[in-house]
């Protein structure tokens, strides 16, 4: 994995400072969610320490380190999720959030009053309590990998309330956000070293395949590049 070079920093600076990037749509509010130019060890801004330990462990179980390469933790999925909590999405500002909030059949969709920030706050506390209850008071982050997986599988299929969030709903929120962190542009804090894209063979922001429309099933030959110009 190549570390961001000084060239990359200049590129990022140029891009982020350009009128096209900042002036339009919702860029202003997205600014906080973007990766800092010099990434040191990440300090979460939304999650507290206990939540952060849970999140790191859970993300890693959902997308584990294995023979294929790094897992969600070293790819920065927890950092991605923490940054997302301060976007309009995290605050529920992309959703219709007016009441009354009724119990309705599941096929009619999300009907809770909680934005993602609160789904995590309530969900993590209750899921960790569930882990402690079944594992002699040990928190989720302190369990071994197979026990953590077993807890997540319980949540995946359970209607049990975690705070006011059904367990399976909390799990799906966590699963989706983890995969977003693994596979989105590193601009948002995850997919470090573009390793998520490398796994799938997705070439990122190349976005020009004029000469590769039909090569009779041959693999596309080039590795990924990010929006900022980083390569794997």
């Amino acid at each position: 994995m190549k570390r961001p070079s000084s060239t990359r920093r200049r590129f990022m600076g140029g891009l982020l400072g350009s009128a096209s990037f900042w002036l339009y749509s919702d860029h202003e509010v997205w600014a906080d969610a973007l990766t800092a130019v010099d990434a040191g060890p990440y300090t979460p801004r939304y999650f507290n320490q206990e939540e952060w330990r849970f999140l790191n462990a859970a993300c890693e179980r959902i997308f584990p380190t294995d023979a294929h390469g790094p897992g969600a933790r070293s790819l920065g999925a927890p950092e991605f999720i923490d940054r997302q909590m301060d976007t309009p999405y995290g605050h529920g500002k992309l959703w219709y959030m007016s009441g009354p909030f009724l119990n309705a059949p599941e096929n009619l969709g999300y009907q809770l009053s909680l934005p993602p920030r609160d789904i995590y706050r309530q969900g993590i506390a209750a899921a960790d309590a569930y882990a402690r209850q079944h594992h002699d008071g040990r928190s989720f982050a302190d369990l071994d990998a197979s026990a953590q997986t077993a807890v997540l599988k319980d949540l995946e299929h359970s209607e049990m309330p975690l705070g006011s969030v059904p367990a399976h709903f909390f799990f799906e929120q966590l699963r989706q956000n983890t995969l977003e962190g693994v596979f989105s542009d590193p601009l948002h804090g995850g997919n470090k070293g573009l390793a998520g894209w490398t796994l799938l063979g997705f070439p990122g922001a190349r976005a020009d395949f004029m000469d590769w429309v039909n090569q009779q099933g041959a693999p596309y030959p080039f590795g990924p590049v990010s929006i900022s110009g980083e390569t794997a």
Binding site: S20, F21, Y24, S25, D26, R61, I62, F63, P64, D66, H68, Y89, K93, L94, W95, Y96, M97, S98, P100, L102, A104, P105, N107, L108, G109, Y110, Q111, T149, L152, R175, T178, L179, E180, V182, F183, S184, D185, L187, H188, G196, W197, L199, L200, G201, F202, A205, A207, D208, F209, M210, W212, V213, N214, Q215, Q216, G217, A218, P219, Y220, I227
Partner: protein, 592 residues
Amino acid sequence: MNARKTDAIVIGAGWAGSILAKELTEAGLSVTVLERGDDRATAVEGDYPSSIDELRGAIRHRLFQNLSQTTVTIRNTVGQVAVPYRRLAAFLPGEGVGGAGLHWSGVHFRVAPDDLALRTNVIARYGKSFIPEGMNLQDYDVTYEELEPFFDKAEKVFGTSGEPYTIQGKIAGKGNPFAPDRSDAFPLPAMKDVYSASLFKTAAANVGYHPYSLPAANASAPYTNPYGVQMGPCNFCGYCSGYDCYMYSKASPNVNILPSLRQDPKFTLITKAHVLKVNLDSEKKKATGVTYLDLQTRQQVELEADLVIVSAFQFHNVHLMLLSGIGQPYDPVANTGTVGRNFVYQTITTSRAWLPSTHYTNQFIGAGGAGVAIDDFNSMNFDHGPLGFVGGSPVWVNQAGAKPIAAAIGGPGGKAPAWGEGYKDAMVETYRHSLTIDAHGSNMAYRDVYLDLDPTYTDAYGQPLLRMTFTWKDNDIRMNQYVVSKIEPIMKAMGATRYSLEKLATDQLFDTRRYQTTHLGGGAVMGADPQTSAVNRYLQSWDVPNVFVIGASAFPQGMGYNPTGMVAALAYWSAHHIRTTYLKNPGPMVRA
């Protein structure tokens, strides 16, 4: 409130609104377009590389309607309490200049002529008793021959790429043999077939079907349209659906029409203008203008006009008619009224085939409008007699550019794990070596499937939300199941090592949590009878003749084809008759 005056007001700056604004300014009218979203320019926010960010684009819905301000409520049946569609999922309306025409894919069909008179044709071939109880099967009251010049015009404005079958009665290419005759060639040759689509083309032909390259409003070569605006050649980057096209290759109102309109002093575009209602005279027979909310100043503004064009997204058109009192709201119990009647959708299911691991489908390479389809099971192209259902589906490989987040969340499919151990192996195989085949089909109209105003929920401006009462019906489920069964031999002929066939399940309820399609239709349908249609054959309100309602809201049934080509043709058709007939003698153009 200060009242201002313009000749014509156009509500919504998507395809229909932009076409009407262009045509009416050409006719010499002063036109004000009111768009509730932001202005959007491809040169600015659609540029490379910042616009091709999947997270901000397709996942967080950069170009789509922000539901926090207004949404719809949904229930499956009349007896249920409807609840809000709180998070975008099943369908994705656009917002801002360009509307859904900015984030669409670009599949650009005409119409299957049989679909325009489906009721008449079904009765003629199978008898009236073939129509199931409760199905409101209706004709459009317009023929393909009448619409053909406007399909032709729209294709030339859109820079559509395609292969013809016949032109003026003579075979002119290897296009869709079920397609109706054309007066002229496509403006551009067909898009190339990506690998997956080329496999489908060979396999489908081997099975005995009639594959053709999809007509696409993605430019296969540089193009200058009749308005003098330019498109660049598509490079198969895969960022069509959900994105603005940084290559200027996908047709959009923003690229193909508005650059010429913006230079016209008779044209005014007001963005962040949320229309609250069309104002009517005391007898509700004439529109006097509209009242809109300026979302920046939070002031209500009254704008007067002689002519009001309602050309927002399909269900926003119906919503605005109901809020304004244009026409009689549909009542499914009494079976009276027309506004909200014949609300329709489309059936769509996506099946997947896996190829040997030596074959890479490179699913990220693609174009939204490109692919290969068969029409053997669309419209009335096959014998429905022994099957006992109405309708059909094109079947296609439409590799629009599979992005990693959506693919990863969707998972590897089949029985493979959706996370954890084993997930990566399965995901890699599916992403690198599989392809998808859709059955994208019709959906009929029913007496108890409709739109009205919700009794409980309101939008951010205090107006009642629109309520959808919708679920899948037996006729359409059986149609989907039948057509999907025809995909299996194609998959085998493609050399699939395994495949999964996805179809609607018997008694399946409409599920709002999963994306299906944004091709909603009906609710303000066109027709010959004011008892069963809200607008006449020129898309003119039967009740308020200086209001025209343009869009997929006019479709009496959900057809198998993608709707944009038909919406554009109907917009040009309506505009032509406004220009040549209505403006000379304003009033009803069809006597009820």
